[in-house]
Structure formats: C-alpha cells, structure tokens
C-alpha cells in the first residue's frame, strides 16, 4: 500500500477566500454568518446564512469556460487555483501527468430553476442557452474543472450529502494507496443561494437566532436550535508520497485513515452506532488507538439531536482520552457538500500553526455530554494527528485521520 499525502490546499469560504485569511479567522474565532434578508420573501423560517461574495472570473477564464460554471463551480475554480499554487503545480504538470479529480457536490439548483422557468414561460427549449446543462448536472464541478485544468485521470463527482467531500478525500486515499492514481484533485463545493436552501428550511432545521447571526451556530451548546446553511468551496491536492517526494512538494499532512458507514435507519434522524462504526474503522485503517488523536473536528452542525448523538459516539470511542473537540461550523455554518474538505483544511491549518480553533458560542453542554472536551476558546497546542467527522442525510458517515508527515 502506498502512503498518501496532502500537498496543496485552497479555500473560498465565508471566513476568508484564501488560506491566510482563513487561518486568521480560525484563530480569532471569527463568524462568517449573517442575514440574507431576501429569504423572508420566499417565506423562509430563518434568513440566517453564511455570507460570501461570488468571484468575478472574467479575464481569468474564457467565456466558454465560464458559461458552464454555476455558483459553486466558481467557488471551486478559485479554491482549486489556490490549491494548485499552494501545491507548486502548473498547467504544464497537469498536461504531462495523469491527474484525476474527485469532487463533492450534491445539488445545483439555480440553473435547473432558470431552465424550467424558460420552458414554462416561453415554451421553447432553444432559449435555455448552452451553459445550463453543464451547470445543472450534479457532476458540474468535476466536469468543468477537468476540462479547464486538462485533467486525464479519474473524473467523478461524489454525492454523499453532507459527507460528500470527506468521502471524496477518502476514496482518493483508497485509489492512490492502491496504486491506481498518483495524484487526485479533491474537494467540495456548496451553493449558498436561497433557492437551494428553501426545502431544507422547510424542515425547520435552521437556527432561528436571527437577532444575533454571529452566535446563531452553537454546536454542542445546550441552547442550540438548528444549523446555519453556508457554502463556498475547498480543494486539496491528494498525492502518493512517492510522487510528492519526486517533485519536491511541500507535504502538509499524511492521510492515515478513512472510515465510513451507513446508519441504515432514517433519512434525517442520525444515530450513535453508525458514526461509531465510522470512527472505529478510521482508527483501524490508521492502525491507531484513540489516544493517538490530538484533536477532533466534529461534524456537529448545531442541531439538537445530531450534536448529541455525535457527542455520544465520540464519548464511546474517545471517552477515556479526553480528546479536544471543536466544531468549526460554529464559525462557518454548515458548509454541507463542501464541509468534509473544508474541515480537513481547517484542521490542517491548525496543525500547521499549532492551535485548536474554538467552538465559538459554546457555553454549557447537554447533561449527557458533560465529559466531552469541547474547546470553547482558541488554544495553543501542538497537533500531530487530527480526526475529522462528516455525516449526511441518509445516514452516510465518513471519518478521516490525518497526521503530520514524518519520514
């Protein structure tokens, strides 16, 4: 089995649109949450949202390259450009080597809505235009980026709800460790528009603390009352150690373990057993005891039952170790399809700069989770190994373990 490393990262998020800004935000415990007032016109129960500006790609991409990209595709392009730069990769390298892409994405609402509006109003599909089909397919990000960056390896979108991009990294780890690919561009993109979030709001799943947007997402706190939808994109260069050493890459971390499981129970109600299986499988793959994990980036989205059940699973596996836990969703909101990839990047940045980012807005725990070591304030600490959880609708679970690279 080949060793697998991460050799480049790029991020476009509500707490910063480049690595440096995001690192500062994580350290400062800065929230990226605000109000999208227009949501009330649609009848949203909550107008809370991650706030992010769309990048202007005119001049960076040709028209043909731009018209196929939906909102989350634009974020993914910018994040991938940064990851390639961070990984010291250029178009010449991509042209002369077999590089793949596994990107997490699980919706693309706006182009679908716009096309249907034209059909309903004009009764003429020829007025939909050429970009719509490429924007509206679920595989929009992997299909567009593979063409823009001339990729010739595996080319797939991973759709696993809010664990999509964590699974993308895990599957890249399997493909590379098995010798099938040397380098795969991994990541996740998440649209943030109101139209894509309405049906989720309809489930009454969102936080209603609209008067205090920065404190609305409060994972593990006993007053939490829902998640805050958010988005952006995150990209990682996942590569065999051999390939990274050969090209003299700056190695940011080594993927040591990938765990997965399916709850096999309910569409939206999480359980304890499924995440526990995922955690144990990740530890087994990594050949590690729970005590080797220095920090856990929890999935915890700030929903009452989700956080409770994840906390219980964590206590069952890590209860004897008092492992520090935080949910960066307290700052970013729930980045859904993007979250698995972005939270690995957040954790890598903490590892690189020796700190644990705070679980902001955490004041007091549930009775059942009193012994969970939630880190509420930024803590300076050396981190050798981190674990990141991502769970999604349908009961899909993913866990990644990443260590500092050591020869």
């Amino acid at each position: 089995m080949k060793r697998v490393v991460i050799s480049g990262i790029g991020i476009y998020s509500t707490i910063g649109t480049d690595i440096e800004t995001v690192t500062k935000s994580l350290y400062a415990g800065k929230s990226g949450i605000g109000i999208d007032a227009g949501r009330k016109d649609y009848g949203f129960r909550s107008s809370l949202s991650g706030i992010i500006e769309r990048p202007n790609l005119k001049g960076l991409l040709s028209r043909r390259e731009r018209v196929g990209l939906p909102e989350q595709g634009e974020y993914a392009y910018v994040a991938t450009m940064e990851a390639l730069k961070n990984g010291s990769l250029d178009m010449d390298y991509l042209a002369s080597n077999e590089v793949g892409i596994l990107y997490g994405n699980d919706s693309s609402s706006i182009p679908v809505i716009e096309a249907i509006d034209i059909m309903r109003e004009k009764h003429d599909t020829s007025l939909i235009g050429s970009g719509s089909i490429f924007q509206s397919m679920n595989s929009t990000i992997s299909m567009n980026l593979s063409v823009i960056f001339k990729l010739k390896g595996i080319n797939l979108t991973i759709s696993g709800a809010c664990a999509s991009s964590s699974h993308a990294i895990g599957l890249a780890y399997i493909l590379i460790s098995g010798g099938f690919q040397d380098m795969i561009i991994c990541g996740g993109g998440q649209e943030i528009n109101a139209e894509s979030m309405g049906s989720f709001d309809g489930l009454a799943a969102f936080s209603t603390y609209e008067n205090e947007p920065h404190t609305a997402s409060r994972p593990f706190d006993r007053t939490r009352n829902g998640l805050v939808p958010s988005g952006g994109a995150a990209t990682l260069i996942v590569e065999s150690l051999d390939s990274a050493l050969k090209r003299g890459a700056n190695i940011l971390g080594e993927i040591k373990g990938y765990g997965f499981s399916s709850n096999g129970s309910h569409l939206s109600v999480p359980n304890v057993e499924g995440p526990k299986v995922s955690l144990l499988r990740a530890l087994k793959t990594a050949g590690m005891k729970p005590s080797k994990i220095d920090y856990i980036n929890a999935h915890a989205t700030s929903t009452p039952l989700g956080d409770l059940n994840e906390g219980k699973a964590l206590l069952e596996v890590f209860g004897d170790c008092n492992t520090p836990v935080s949910s960066t969703k307290s700052m970013t909101g729930h980045e859904m399809w993007m979250g698995g990839a972005s939270e690995v990047i957040y954790s890598l940045l903490m590892m690189q700069h020796s700190f644990i980012a705070p679980n902001i807005n955490f004041n007091s725990p549930d009775d059942e989770l009193r012994t969970l070591n939630v880190i509420a304030e930024t803590r300076e600490q050396e981190l050798d190994t981190i674990l990141s959880n991502s769970f999604g609708f349908g009961g899909t679970n993913s866990t990644l373990i990443i260590s500092k690279y050591r020869k």
Binding site: R63, S126, G129, S130
Partner: protein, 79 residues
C-alpha cells in the same frame, strides 16, 4: 429592421458576450475559423437572435451561415 442596426446589435453581442476583439468583426470573417465560434456557441447565438430580432432560428438554417455577412443577411431577410 435596418441592416445597420442589425450589425450594431450582433457586433455588440460578439464583443461583449463572446469577448471577440472588435477589429476582427469584418463582414467576410468566418465565424468558426476567424472568430473562434464553436458548436456550443451557436446555441447562444440562436438565443440572442430570437430575443433581439423576434424570430425563431433553426439549427438547420444556421448551417449555411458561414461568415458574419451571412449572419447579417440571414437576420435582415427575416427580421
């Protein structure tokens, strides 16, 4: 519609939307070879013609439109 107006609308679309340099927009310019317009772009040209000039274009008719001048003429005959 006056031919001059057709030229203005089409050229403005090609420079602003397709980002083609204005100096390349000479009547004899071949759409594919000289202006770099590709198969998918014709889908969007159909949209702009329908929106701006109010008649429905078929892809079959567009096959005979080779140059910019052909396009002006094609629209002038129908608009």
């Amino acid at each position: 519609m006056q031919r001059e107006k057709i030229v203005t609308i089409i050229n403005q679309f090609l420079t602003e939307e397709f980002e083609i340099d204005e100096s390349a927009l000479v009547p004899e310019a071949l759409l594919i070879q000289d202006l770099g317009i590709e198969s998918l772009d014709f889908v969007d040209i159909v949209v702009i013609i329908e929106q701006e000039f109010g008649f429905k274009v078929t892809r079959e008719e567009m096959v005979n439109v080779k140059t910019l001048d052909d396009m002006y003429n094609y629209i002038a005959e129908r608009a």
